[in-house]
Subunit: 473 residues, 2 copies
């Protein structure tokens, strides 16, 4: 059991009663696909955040959109919350049953429904994970680029407007979801778009649902844009004498319009942790991991431009990887950073920040925050999708020492305040969840958040769709 | 005076009374910037559509967001509609005062507020036109790519989710608006986003407003993505033995992932009309106009790939243009197509279709519709942003012959039905306005349109924001 936290760092728990009649009705409708076993409930009542809450009262394993619709209809009848669940990789408490209710697990809705290679679109059920999707796309020569790190479901990635390492070139879920099927608060399934690449047909319900964190409906199917695998891919790492040098290189690359596919910052802490974890023997200096996609000539051209810029900022030890195996080795450093960091301090929990600022403000936002983190004494690592101006500090806390959590939250608060002053956002890709409810008000203003609440009240008058997330009502 | 049209082709006019007290209050607040002169009202009560309606009761020329907010507050007090007006280039009746009310002209809010060249963003007032913006960007080496043809305002382009010739590479207003300032139905100004490239901070109010056609608020400021002018640009025209050959070439180019910047179809009718209008001496055959952006090597590579594909489909007479002057000459054919067509039949009006389908369905959708148009006997021209699967028939009607309008509407109806069956949309870029209210229901379904109505009712309870557009309430 962790030591108690100061009350302002604990999510507000106010679980509504779940009538026995609802559980009975769910068991009748779903049989073995409705579970009230404590282990199952607990597994569905937490995520990768550091929040805690009593679990949902039951878990429904949906196999179809009709299952989701029926579960929502039953929940609506008893005015009980529903919380969609993918793989549980949220970092922001999206999955916690802070107002009670039932969890709808979409993991068994894991079919790729159709691949339209000739249109560069694919339609999947919400429980398909991004790795599974790319596996199933392999034979077509196409791929889905968005990579948030975790092997999240496409439904969860849509609900949080996720992005990740490839977003600098390919965009985020905002740009890559063409259409959705969504079960609304009254248990109806609607479609929010077509397979056309563009449309001016009425309100953009697709983009309204993308990033709505389950508060407006349960996403059941997603039509995505996919891309031809580039003719040539080449990856490189480059070490820098300072974080600033790495960041300034990135800024110049982006401002020049180089269509770089990935440009990730890994600070010296992360490199040290990854070296310890994976024996990679990398120079323990800040580094950029980069990837270039295009024709062989185009990739060569991009790489030369970037190498020129990097060398002006003292970048050295450019190491290239052209074969898939070599690329995988380089990317291991990035992909393992989170777990390597967790293991660097046994028993710790990580709190992840997620600010994103205009690229010209990146150095200002990042360097001052590094200084503050260094001074705090809290162990941390820093990684970033710096081409987008988005980066994550991971503060590594001893959960038995509430003071550490307070220090980390104070660091994050300063960072967010700085990012907002620099015309940025408190969350580039993780979502608001429980953690950033106050930050959202600071960022968007009361009137804009009130508009969100108005939409929420109109579309979910009983407030049953993942209540308590994004804003308080 | 035109002959009367069959009733189902006439927009429903039901103008609410505008109390004299409101007009007085507007005159007091806005002085000479509020006009009730009939010529001014009539100019603001029509657009490029073929619809007619009595004009708004007054026109307010806003100079600031505060002006817009005050005009909306006064209108709200008397429950009178407000209709935002840019340059009047809507093709779908967006500007018609079918429920009466006042027009808010944003044309004098025409300042480029700040250019953040280092972040590739710009913030403009809603009345800035796209040509003005590119003029003001010239010295920075950056440009705003979206080009719907008309020199529309950025506010109007946002409100209709416009796109045009460059969308195949750079996306539409959906992808390129980062944030908005919007005056809501209660006269408050809200901001919908930051200058960060990506964000997961709550509902995507930006995308909800983009394409809402003035029905949820008046857009007053827009923050846009801008792009470095490509190092190299090269344009080409290529004639084809048939529309099918041109379309199949396009499909293959897109499916291969060639990052072509523009690929426009111009049918032989359009070429004939443009030749007559501008004495261009082009081969009177279907043609593709293409543009390639990138590094010199990249552009050469793209162009070679496309030339190879085109020649497989019988494409001939590739004509290249590398200097700006030569490019302008080639693009004249495209840019003058609409006016050349109108002049080809003195006194005619054009009805423009706007379907957009997945690229693999383009030939199916287009070729059958060409056949029907040919058989109808109605003069027409056909142009298309075919790289996006979007194309426009322009049926050229004698407004004195209602039967022609009926035939054209029947052709459009067949075309939309076909596009929807092929998983496309009734409107790729013009919006719904008055013309496609029924089509939207066919496309999105009752439940999705009802969701739009629910949002509308919640955000505009008095139904004063451009009422009667997109859907009936």
């Amino acid at each position: 059991m962790n030591a108690p936290l100061p009350s302002h760092l604990v999510p507000q728990i106010d679980q509504r009663p779940v009538p026995a009649a609802l559980i009975e009705a769910l068991k009748e409708r779903f049989g073995a696909n409705c579970s009230t076993a404590m282990a199952v409930r607990e597994q569905h009542g937490r995520d990768e955040s550091s929040f805690e809450s009593p679990p949902p009262a039951a878990v429904v394993f949906a196999q179809s959109t009709a299952d989701v619709a029926d579960a929502v209809k039953l929940a609506a009848r008893y005015e009980v919350p529903v919380i969609p669940f993918g793989v549980g990789s949220s970092l922001e408490g999206h999955l916690l049953a802070v107002q009670g209710g039932i969890s709808i697990d979409l993991g068994r809705m894991n079919k790729v429904l159709n691949i339209h290679a000739e249109d560069l679109t694919v339609t999947v059920q919400a429980g398909v994970t991004r790795k599974q999707l790319n596996e199933e796309l392999k034979s077509t020569g196409l791929f889905f680029p968005i990579d948030p790190g975790a092997d999240a479901t496409i439904g969860g990635m849509s609900a949080t407007r996720a992005s990740g390492t490839n977003a600098v070139r390919y965009g985020t879920m905002r740009e890559n979801v063409l259409a959705l099927e969504v079960v609304t608060a009254d248990g109806q399934a609607i479609r929010t778009g077509t397979r056309a690449r563009k449309s001016s047909a009425g309100y953009d319900l697709t983009r309204l649902m993308v990033g709505s964190e389950g508060t407006l409906g349960v996403i059941t199917e997603i039509t995505l844009r996919i891309y031809p695998l580039p003719e040539a891919i080449s990856a490189a790492i480059c070490s820098f004498p300072s974080i600033e040098a790495a960041v300034r290189t990135t800024i110049e690359v982006i401002q020049l319009g180089v269509p770089i596919a990935r440009v990730e910052l890994i600070d010296h802490n992360s490199v040290r942790m990854v070296n310890a974890h994976s024996k990679l023997g990398l120079r323990e200096e800040p580094m950029l991991l980069m990837e270039f996609h295009g024709s062989p000539a185009g990739v060569k051209e991009q790489a030369e431009t970037v190498q020129d810029i990097a060398s002006q900022y003292g970048g050295k030890a450019f190491e290239w990887a052209v074969t898939p195996e070599e690329r995988t080795r380089l990317w291991t450093a990035r992909h393992n950073a989170y777990f390597a960091a967790i293991q660097s301090r046994p028993g710790c929990r990580a709190i992840s920040t997620d600010t994103c600022v205009p690229i010209s403000r990146l150095a200002d936002c990042l360097l001052d925050s590094v200084k503050e983190a260094d001074e705090s004494g809290i162990p941390y690592f820093l990684v970033g999708h710096v081409g987008d101006g988005n980066f994550h500090f991971g503060y590594l806390l001893d959960p038995k020492v509430p003071r550490e959590r307070e220090i980390a939250e104070a660091l994050n608060h300063k960072l967010v305040t700085r990012a907002l002053a620099l015309e940025g956002t408190c969350t580039g890709e993780h979502g608001v969840g429980l953690h950033k409810i106050d930050f959202l008000v600071s960022e968007a203003g009361n009137a804009a958040v009130e508009m969100m609440r108005t939409i929420k009240r109109a579309l979910d008058p009983k407030n049953i769709m993942n209540p308590g997330k994004i804003f308080t009502l």
